[in-house]
Structure formats: C-alpha cells, structure tokens
C-alpha cells in the first residue's frame, strides 16, 4: 500500500500548500498548520482519487485524524472494505 501513502502525501502537499518533505506519517495535521477547511478539501480529493466514501464530519469534537498516518490508515481500511485496489 506504499502507493496509497505517497498519493495521500501528494494530495496533502497540494491541497494544504505544505512542502512535500515536511509530510511524514508522524506529523500532526496541527503542526503542518492544516486547517479544518483544508481537511475537508483533502478528504474530497482522497475520495475522488480512490473512489471511496470517507465518513468524516468536521463537527466531531474528537477529531479522528490527528496525524498524517491516521489519514493513510483510514483510507487503506476503506479501500480494503470496498474490495478495490487503488
């Protein structure tokens, strides 16, 4: 699933205007200064790229995505669930 990870890194870099080399799995979205509207746009791009539905609500008070790898793991799980390969 390495390609899923690198695709997601690319999407985050582009949508949130963050330098690609700063994006590592352990980086928190907050540290990368990714705002809530950036997250909404990132999720949209991820859904389009992998043809999946990510059940994400910006109002969830316990945000499920703290780090970049949280996003990658969630997407990998959703891809596996939908039975598709990226």
């Amino acid at each position: 699933m390495a390609s899923v990870e690198s695709d997601i890194f690319e999407i985050i870099a582009e949508k949130a205007a963050v330098a690609r080399d700063k994006i590592v799995g352990t980086a928190s979205l907050q540290e990368l200064e990714i705002e809530s509207l950036d997250v909404v746009e990132i999720i949209f791009a991820v859904e389009e790229k992998f043809d999946i539905h990510v059940p994400f609500n910006a109002n969830d008070q316990e945000l499920e995505f703290d780090t970049v790898s949280d996003v990658v793991k969630a997407v990998e799980a959703l891809i596996a669930e939908s039975g598709g390969a990226a």
Binding site: V40, F44, N57, A58, N59
Partner: protein, 403 residues
C-alpha cells in the same frame, strides 16, 4: 424617529403551515426534524431535514399562478398573506405607496434551478420551462408579495446567506423608523432542500446525521430547514390610529462584518453586531431577558456565539435565557432569522421561552443557560435574535415587549 411595532405575522415551516401550528410545536419544545421525503435520498449521505411536509401548493394558488412560483416564493406568499390578514392593514390607495417590502433569501429559486439542470444535463432535453428565470430570481418572493397586496413603495430582496432575513428586517425597520414609509412587509423565505443543494452541504462536512443539538455536547452539525416567516412592521402612531393589535416593538438593529474567513465565524464580529443592536435600541445588556441564538449546532458556531455573548453581556451572560429554535425547525438559511423572530415575538406574547430541543449534556465550551429541552414560563421584557452568516456577515435584531 418613529417607534416601530409588529402588528401581524405569518409562518410556514416544518412545524406546520401557519403561525399557530408553528408556535404550538415550538412553545412545547417539539422538534420537526425528520427523514427527508420531498426528494429522492438514495444518493445522499445526509437524509434528514426539517421539511415543510404535507404541503399542497394548489390549495393556496391557482394553476396559472403556480407556473410562476418557485417553492420559496410560494412560502413567502403564504406567510405574507397570513401576516397581512393578521395585521388587518390595508394597502389601498396612498397607503400602498407608503409601504415597503423587503424579503431575505439566501439563494432564491433552488428548486427551479435544480429541476432545469436535471432537464438539460440528465434528461438531455433541449429546452426548459419558459418561466425558469422569473421563478428562480432571488427577488421573486418580494415581487409576488408586492403584486398580490398592492405594495408600491420601496421593495427589494436581500441575500446574505444565513443572515438574509435579519438584514431584510433591519432594512424594513430602518425605513419605518425614519418615516420613509408607514409600514413594511418583511421577513425571509427559503426552499433549498433539493438533491443538488444537499450534495453541496454534504460536501462541506458540517451536516448532522442524527439531529440538530445546538450547544450540546455530542452535537454533530446543522440540519437544513425551509419555510418562511413574514411580519408587518408599522409606525406606532399609524397602528394606534387604526386600533391594531401590537405584538412587540422593534427597537434596534446591529450589523457587522467579520472580514476574516468565508466559513469560520468570529466572536469579535458577532459581538460587534450584538452590541450594535443594544446601542441602537438604547438598551443596556442587563435589559435583555432572552437571546434567540444563531445556534446552528456546528462545533464552530456554538462555541463562538457563546464567547460573543460573554464578551457583550459580561456577568449578565449567565442570567440570560439563550435558546436555538433551529433544534426544532432546522436551519432555514435566508428564512432562519424570520422564523426565529416569530419565536421571539410569540414568546413575548405568551410569556414562554422556547427551548433548545435535542439537548443531551453540557459542553464545557458552551456554558450558558440554553433552556434545554423544556420550555420555560417567563416574561420576556426584551430580547435579541442573532444571525451570523457564512461570509462573516452578522445581523442582530432587538425587540421589546410593547407596553
């Protein structure tokens, strides 16, 4: 400066097709949020709303007239008829020229737009209904109201997303207060529960999937509503001269712009609008009994609005009764401020504060008295009604019990 009073009101919403039904539910804390039934929901992830259910347009309009009316204009016309009849005001002769109409709507004829796109892009037809343009324009509701009642003075529509109705009613208030007109028919009308619009809201990731729980812990966002509320604002002397009933007095209007972010709210901007309404109404913070909150049920709004209220009201914030009636009739966008004003005005008449329904438990970041779940018997001497729109455009109305 003239004193401005409310002499008539009309409402159509998820809580029923007239003001009495609306108030019957709202004053008892009954939520009208439920499964969406007026559009196909198979492609939607959010399937709940606050719809005007059981609505048969042909009961209100002749077939020929209906061809010209988008759903939002129908709602506006129905609420205006009820308000004008309730007020007993006449727009015959010169009175019509001395009357204004300002109706707020966030987006206008969405049903018409959605249907015509479907016709062209999905059904691949080459033409749409000939009245597509006059149906969808945002000023259609205002124009039809002027035509039906002979209102010949200043008339226009206002679009400022979720603040549209408060901006519209604010304009009407200023015109009557200044003496530019003797009366105004004003409020908001909206009907945006279409597949296309729902898709847009879903994509923003701010919609609740269960229900709308403003200020409560566990809230998951807003629920779309629809409908209209319309009022007759009248110069006090004119209302007295004709022996009209008076519901309440409109005393202040406060406006501001956040100049910050297109979707995120700002406490400073909200506070400036609230403080502006109090100042315009010649009131001190301690004079206010009740706040009908913007209270959308999103994480961002409810915390920011709480902060803004504390900023303006200081130690008195804890004594305010604050509630969000969006918990019962959803967020009707450009009609929201008008539905909320109806809740304030009827609450003043009956000494009842409508509650915030669907409240589960306190959120530590929202620590005011939100009148959770049960209505409260209490005399409302003065109240404000808040609207804070996407785009950072804020408008607040201040009202007083008429004595």
């Amino acid at each position: 400066m003239n004193r401005v009073v409310i002499t008539g009101l009309g409402v159509i919403s998820a809580a029923g097709h007239n003001a009495a039904d609306f108030w019957g539910k709202i004053s008892n804390g009954r939520s009208s949020i439920g499964e969406i039934t007026t559009i196909p929901t198979d492609t939607l992830t959010v399937k709940i709303g606050a719809e005007v259910a059981g609505f048969e347009p042909q009961e209100y309009f002749e077939k020929r007239q209906l061809g010209m009316l988008d759903r939002f204009s129908q709602f506006g016309l129905i609420a205006a008829r009820e308000a004008i009849s309730d007020s007993g005001i006449s727009f015959e002769g010169e009175a019509g020229e001395r009357a204004a109409s300002v109706i707020g709507s966030g987006v206008g004829g969405q049903t018409t737009l959605d249907d015509s796109y479907w016709t062209i892009y999905a059904e691949k037809k080459s033409r749409v209904h000939p009245f597509t343009v006059p149906r969808l324009m945002i000023n259609a509701a205002t124009s039809h109201i002027t035509m039906e009642h002979g209102i010949k003075g200043p008339a226009y529509s206002i679009a400022s997303a979720c603040s549209s109705a408060n901006h519209a009613m604010g304009q009407a208030f200023l015109m009557v207060r200044s003496g530019m007109v003797d009366a105004a028919v004003t409020g908001g009308a909206e009907a945006t529960i279409t597949v296309g619009t729902m898709k847009g809201w879903e994509a923003l990731r701010v919609m609740a999937n269960d229900t709308c729980r403003p200020f409560s812990k566990g809230r998951t966002g807003m629920v779309l509503g629809e409908g209209s509320a319309v009022f007759v604002f009248e110069m006090l002397e004119k209302a007295k001269a004709r022996g009209a009933q008076i519901y309440a007095e409109v005393v202040g209007h406060g406006l501001s712009s956040d100049a910050m972010d297109i979707t995120l709210p700002d406490a400073g901007g909200a506070a400036r609008a609230i403080a502006g309404a109090l100042k315009d109404g010649g009131m001190n913070p301690e004079d206010i009994t009740y706040v009908n909150a913007h209270g959308t049920g999103t994480a961002a709004n409810d915390v920011t609005e709480t902060r803004a209220l504390k900023q303006v009201f200081g130690h008195h914030a804890g004594s305010l009764a604050v509630s969000s009636t969006k918990s019962m009739v959803g967020h009707a966008l450009g009609a929201a401020g008008a539905l909320e004003m109806a809740a304030v005005v009827l609450g003043m008449r009956d000494n009842i504060i409508p509650p915030t329904a669907n409240y589960v438990e306190p959120d530590p970041h929202c620590d005011l008295d939100y009148v959770p779940n049960d209505p409260r018997e209490m005399q409302i001497d003065a109240a404000i009604s808040n609207s804070f729109a996407f785009g950072g455009l804020n408008a607040v109305m201040a009202l007083k019990r008429f004595v």
